[in-house]
């Protein structure tokens, strides 16, 4: 059989291929050789991840506890769907109404307030619908609808989208299907870009807006309404209902998020980059007291 391999080039190629395979396999297998309970699956939202906060917090958590956190960034809706099936260990989401239903169904335990930031309504500086300075966000949306001005919605069941839908409900107007109402199905950053390109309005979380501000041609037009608060909770998945869930890991992460040290980091996150913090730490407070 060795005669078959007389061709040294064949040998070289095969060796190279084998090395590549071995390298890849060994890395992968090493990572997986860790005891499985060291892995925590954290389901959170794209906007949370995009803010960069987790990139700061998670390495600290991993170093302190030795856990390996797999951050899966999807929309709030999908995150909770994952939780409902026990496919995640802990959630960090910001869709309070859906969260309440989630808890009622017994899928989660220990829903704790972590932080908040706010949403803003942004639009072109020219502001054709003339909503600048309005105190009520619902009022602003009503005005946009009446003017038939272009509005970009995320349309992806994310926390942002849920908030937006709640506001529309308050106006009593159904925007779906109307010519000026466009659902992008995209993440926050992309939706902001679409609104900027088309000179339209959109509802965005302040964090993402600040991060992209310099490339966007959009101004903050409506802010500060209590209805625009974007509230983050951490929810541990119910280990009794889902035995495969890493309940201890989920608890450890949740505890970490509300710990004093972490809350301190959250308080200052983003200040040097954007001049103002992206999030406001709220652990231990009551939801009704937020905002002011």
């Amino acid at each position: 059989m060795m005669k078959m391999f007389k061709n040294s080039k064949t040998v070289a190629v095969l060796i190279a291929a084998f090395l590549l395979f071995a390298l890849g396999a060994s890395d992968v297998l090493a990572a997986n050789a860790e005891p499985k309970q060291k892995n925590i699956i954290l389901a959170t939202t794209t906007s949370t991840q995009d803010s960069g906060l987790l990139d700061v917090l998670i390495p600290i958590f991993e170093k302190e506890t030795g856990y390996f956190v797999k951050t899966i960034a999807v929309g709030s809706g999908q995150a909770m769907a994952m939780g409902q099936k026990g496919e995640a260990d802990v959630l960090l989401v910001h869709s309070p109404d859906a969260e309440k239903k989630f808890m009622e169904a017994g899928n989660g335990v220990n829903r704790r307030l972590v932080m908040h930031n706010d949403f803003i309504i942004v639009g072109p500086s020219a502001d054709p619908a003339k909503i600048k300075g309005l105190k009520s966000s619902a009022e602003a949306l009503k005005t946009i609808a009446k003017a038939g001005a272009l509005f970009s919605s995320r349309g992806d069941n994310s926390g942002t989208h849920a908030k937006e839908k709640a506001l529309w409900k308050q106006t009593g107007i159904t925007p779906a299907g109307q010519k000026w109402y466009q659902e992008t199905g995209l993440g926050m950053g992309q939706t902001l870009n679409v609104a900027s390109e088309k000179k339209g309005y959109t509802l965005a979380d302040r964090g993402t807006y600040l991060a992209l501000k310099k490339n966007l041609g959009l101004d903050v037009l409506v802010e500060g309404d209590a209805a625009l608060l974007n509230i983050y909770h951490v929810i541990e998945i119910n280990g009794t209902k889902w035995p495969k869930v890493n309940a201890a890991g989920g608890r450890a992460f949740a505890d970490f998020m509300v710990s004093k040290k972490t809350q301190g980091i959250i308080k200052t996150f983003g200040v040097d980059k954007f001049g103002s913090p992206l999030f406001f730490p709220d652990a231990g407070k009551k939801v009704e007291d937020l905002g002011k």
């Binding site: 794209t46 960034a73 026990g86 995209l186 993440g187 950053g189 992309q190």
Partner: protein, 232 residues
């Protein structure tokens, strides 16, 4: 246009500064897709050759399935693999969801039919009496198969390139089963999608360019090997 130029500049910045995160992502892309391609080469060539050389009832059906598999939508593969390996799935006990391991499996599933179909076609394309001639010269069955595979080196290398090209540029399945976890399962394609989603178009373009360069270099190497064959 300006954006593309920005992207090119950013790409060079990232590469020349040996930005560790970008290098890590690039190396991971290469490892994962390389391993997947290697696996697909093994299974694809062996099964493709076996199907080409044997007669069995239902052969035509099997060939149709292989050819259909070549056009399998990667995101569908990702979905099925996810369902298989998540906690409530039959393979959940392996606990490989959101790992590079799962990405290799998904990519191997995507690439294998491609390599299989092309191997099948190229072996079938050899002169029908060649097999008999080689056996007549005293080859054992294994020796005969090896000679036939070597005779098809050109199209088989094309198959490898097709398989590799398909998976290095794959994103849907990779995000689903890998989770795009920073420093762990984030590869060039998934990072590009994420940066685009964040609105960081310059970084996204830079990553895209790096991906193109990577794909180009690998194919350059394989093409070199392939075309050297032709001159012999």
């Amino acid at each position: 246009m300006e954006l593309i130029v920005q992207g090119i500049v950013k790409a060079f910045e990232l590469l020349l500064s040996f930005d560790p995160e970008v290098l890590g992502i690039t190396w991971l892309s290469l490892k994962i897709s390389g391993t997947a391609t290697f696996i697909s080469l093994f299974f694809g060539v062996s099964i493709g050759t076996a199907v080409a050389l044997t007669t069995f009832p239902g052969k035509r059906l099997v060939i149709s399935l292989i050819n259909t598999g070549m056009g399998l939508p990667p995101v569908v593969v990702g979905l099925f693999v996810t369902i298989m390996i998540w906690r409530s799935g039959p393979l959940g006990f392996l606990e490989i969801l959101y790992t590079p391991y799962a990405m290799i499996i998904a990519q191997a599933i995507i690439a294998t039919p491609i390599v299989m179909g092309i191997s099948l076609a190229s072996i079938q394309n050899l002169p029908p009496n060649l097999r008999l001639q080689i056996l007549a010269l005293g080859a054992s069955r294994m020796q005969m198969v090896w000679v036939l595979i070597k005779e098809s080196k050109l199209p088989l290398l094309a198959a490898v390139m097709a398989g590799f090209g398909g998976v290095i540029s794959e994103v849907g399945a990779s995000i689903m089963v890998g989770g795009n976890i920073k420093g762990y399962s984030r590869v060039l394609t998934t990072a590009t999608v994420m940066e685009t989603g964040k609105g960081n178009f310059d970084i996204a373009i830079a990553l895209g360019i790096i991906l193109l360069i990577l794909a180009f270099l690998v194919n350059l190497l394989l093409t070199h090997v392939q075309q050297r064959q032709r001159l012999r």
